[in-house]
Amino acid sequence: MNKAVLEFSSRAENVAFARVAVAAFASQLDFTLSDLEEIKVAVSEAVTNAIVHGYGNKPENMVRLELTIQEEYLEIKVIDRGKGIDDVAKALEPAYSTDPERMGLGFSFMQSFMDRFAVDSQPGRGTRVIMSRKAGAPQKAAVPDQ
């Protein structure tokens, strides 16, 4: 088993840092370049949500990523201690967003690009997204079934 934890300021410029770091860690498994691109999108969405929604773009908070490689599986947890989600089922609906300039597709992309996906959120306490992907596994259907 191989573990890594990343914690970083909730600044938009760290979204790219998180993507690159996760891809570098993930590349210890037998992922294709196309797999790594998909994992980067999922990470980008989850980390952006923590910064934008969880912390309302305030830069002095910390976003935490916990990465685990076990056998052929990469597990990624994205954790914030921000405002949390009142209605998780509603938040998971494709095209639902509380921000008019956003697509409401972040959670859909995470579900499309990862094999397993779960959200655990408590209003006022924060949000934890847990996703995992098997190296070499076929991509799931393009339309998320949540």
């Binding site: 410029e13 790219a16 980008s44 300039e101 956003r102 597709l105 972040g106």
Partner: protein
Amino acid sequence: MNYTIKKQGDCLVVALSGEVDVSVTDSLREDVDRALVNFGTGNILFDLSGVEFMDSAGLGVILGRYKKLRGQGGNVYLAGAKPQVKKVLELSGLLRLMEEYPTAGDVLGKIG
């Protein structure tokens, strides 16, 4: 991430390159909207041939401009997306709203 915005015919050509994520979408949105006003054009062509990464924040800028221009009878075109970018364009449904071409030249040839 870099971008250039220029006018060709009645089209604003927005050429993006590098990684399009939340760290650039605010300034991109503002600059495109300001250019639409300044140049008084009715269409936008997003040239994506230099884009290495795009997530839903980038797609949101494109969709936002599309909604705005359609309300005024204009249109948004996409060109040159690499496979990883094409994947998120497809998955998001944007390709059901907008036409996507292999190169920026194809679009300008068609609408020019």
